[in-house]
């Protein structure tokens, strides 16, 4: 029986051969470029009114951080959903599920490989966005020391370390969204439906977050967890939102992935 690693490698190869994969990555590249372009065209004036928005002309390192904030509204949910919603449903649609499930690899491993490939893709999109943002931001505003949310300054080297840690924490809600996408993809068997459904779900949570009566839910919804990384950019580091995001996102991910896994293990692979 082939290892999960083998199946995972082939899942990545499939992603590499599909156009939709590059659509998501193109979004991840375009966003920082557009942002820097906008900044260049508006020569003066303040940056956007979000965390680190004030510092975008002071240090290029503030630019990826601003984009993390913007990206959480729909860009990263969209990029993640694009692959997560498709990865099982597309094989249903193509009929290839029956092809791979009648070989020597168990359904559990196929699912694990698909989940890992989905998570890998979400992580890759984040890294690509980050690298392009650092490069474009560096060209625009220079790689200067970064002002933290506590008002202190950190060196460029230290800023990179903090940004790496922030990206890891930012991955938590992304994995939660990817898990929702996997579940919808497995259950609906419809790629477009699962992609749109995942994105709508993520937008719906944002709506609930800003509704006045439902404020009490806020700490348990995903939009809040997309800001947890900012704990790293305070002095001293504020671990509370980070720990909170870890368990909230873990609950979303574990519930959705387990449900999807069980459905995938038992479901019929039949036409229509």
């Amino acid at each position: 029986m082939p290892s999960t690693a083998t199946v995972y490698r082939w899942e990545l190869r499939k992603l590499v051969s599909q156009k939709r994969t590059y659509l998501g990555l193109a979004f991840a590249i375009a966003m920082p470029l557009l942002f820097v372009l906008a900044l260049t065209l508006r020569r003066h004036g303040a940056g956007p009114d979000v965390a680190f928005g004030r510092y975008v002309r002071q240090s290029g390192l503030a630019i990826p951080l601003v984009l993390l904030v913007f990206g959480s509204f729909w860009l990263f949910p969209l990029i993640t959903a694009l692959v997560a919603g498709d990865i099982v449903a597309a094989e249903d649609h193509n009929g290839t599920l029956k092809t791979i499930l009648t070989r020597s690899v168990g359904r559990g491993r196929v699912f694990a490989a698909k989940a890992l490939a989905t998570f890998t893709y979400a992580g890759l999109a984040l890294v690509v966005m980050g690298l392009v943002a650092v490069a474009a931001g560096g060209l625009k505003s220079g790689l200067h020391p970064l002002t933290t949310l506590s008002g202190t300054r950190v060196s460029v080297g230290r800023a990179f370390v903090l940004m790496g840690a922030s990206a890891l924490v930012y991955m938590l809600p992304l994995l939660a969204i990817a898990s929702i996408g996997l579940l919808l993809s497995t259950v609906t068997r419809n790629s477009a439906g699962a992609v749109v459904g995942t994105l709508l779900f993520s937008l719906l949570l944002q709506l609930v977050t800003i509704l006045p009566g439902l404020g009490g839910l806020r700490p348990y919804l995903l939009p809040e967890q997309f800001n947890a990384w900012q704990g790293f950019l305070r002095v001293p580091t504020d671990w509370a939102p980070i720990g909170h995001a870890a368990w909230v996102c873990a609950i979303y991910a574990v519930v959705c992935v387990s449900a999807a896994f069980l459905v995938f293990l038992r479901r019929d692979v039949a036409g229509d």
Binding site: K14, I100, A270
Partner: protein, 323 residues
């Protein structure tokens, strides 16, 4: 229903398979027994439940009842391990359209554990796809995909091959090539189960046949048995077919008596036919014709697979009529 122990090591033994889709019972108590070296024709009209039964055998679909043994192992219990010596596909084989034919085979070989990676070129050669192997499957014709499906199955070096209507939708040359390919597989000692809605195909390729109709098996045996059961059919015309039909139905040894467009047809040994003629006369019915009617396999297939009374007139009847 369980697979009897003596059949546990047969390539394929299925007992009491049931699969329902809502109100439709797609597979309704199907038993299949395939011995080593068999070329087994799984015959039935469209919608009879062939594909669904094959899906159950391949572990793609969970039956509501029944059990399967593939060389003694049940896909429900043992998962893909039950498919160890088994390969095949249901409906048209499906591949990743954005990968080349060769890449698709590399993928399935990797999912088999990688041992077959070195045999990919041979498999492509066998199905005559070597020169198109680098093209994306998205541009393949139906026939090429069908052949790629066979190549993919061959990579598993199976002892049992399950093929779902492999020749359906091919042009005449493609059909001939596909049948030749299957014959070669059978000659190499592989056990083959192939579903079909065409009797001629099964006659040409298979030694054993199972006939399914509306989810139920209506015949399983050798082709010779099938031919033997095609004999013994009779045609009867009388002065009063309604009464005659009642007499036929109550006469000993007379089976499957039914009204047709040209009178009454039934099946019976000769002795019973002699007794029937006397019984008819005693009932005051005059005989205008009582003729043995050599049913073809085709007639038999229709009779087995069509609804009673709604069966189309078999072709040989029409000939008689014209004569």
């Amino acid at each position: 229903m369980r697979v009897p122990p003596q059949d546990l090591d047969a390539p394929l033994c299925a007992r009491g398979l049931v699969k329902r889709y809502g109100d439709v019972v797609a597979v309704d108590g199907v038993d299949l027994t395939v011995a080593p070296g068999d070329v087994y024709g799984f015959l039935g009209p469209n919608g009879a439940g062939k594909t669904t039964a094959l899906r159950i055998l391949l572990g793609l679909v969970r039956p509501h009842a029944g059990s399967v043994a593939l060389f003694g192992r049940d896909p429900l219990l043992h998962g893909v391990q039950a498919l160890e010596s088994v390969a095949g596909f249901v409906e048209a084989p499906s591949f990743y359209p954005y990968l080349s034919g060769r890449k698709n085979l590399e993928l399935v070989a990797a999912l088999d554990g990688g041992q077959a990676a070195g045999r990919i070129d041979d498999a492509l050669e066998t199905v005559e796809l070597s020169d198109r192997a680098r093209d994306k499957v998205g541009g393949y014709s139906h026939g090429m995909r069908q052949r790629l499906g066979i190549a993919g199955a061959l990579l598993r070096a199976p002892r049992l091959m399950l093929l779902d209507e492999p020749a359906t939708g091919l042009d005449p040359a493609g059909m001939r090539d596909m049948r030749g390919l299957i014959r070669n597989l059978a000659d190499s000692g592989m056990t083959v189960v192939l579903s079909s809605h065409l009797l001629v195909e099964v006659e040409e390729l298979c030694n054993r046949v199972g006939i399914i109709r509306r989810g139920k098996m209506v015949f399983e045996g050798t082709l010779t048995d099938l031919r033997a059961s095609a004999a013994g059919a009779w045609q009867l015309r009388t002065t009063d077919d309604d009464v005659a039909l009642r007499v036929c139905r109550s006469a000993p040894g007379i089976e499957e008596a039914r009204a047709t467009a040209s009178g009454i047809s039934f099946r019976a040994p000769e002795a019973a036919v002699a007794d029937l003629s006397i019984a008819l006369v005693q009932a005051g019915i005059g005989l205008t014709a009582l003729t043995p009617h050599a049913a073809t396999l085709e007639d038999l297939f229709f009779r087995l697979t069509e609804d009673d009374g709604r069966a189309p007139i078999p072709a040989s009847d029409a000939v008689e009529e014209a004569a």
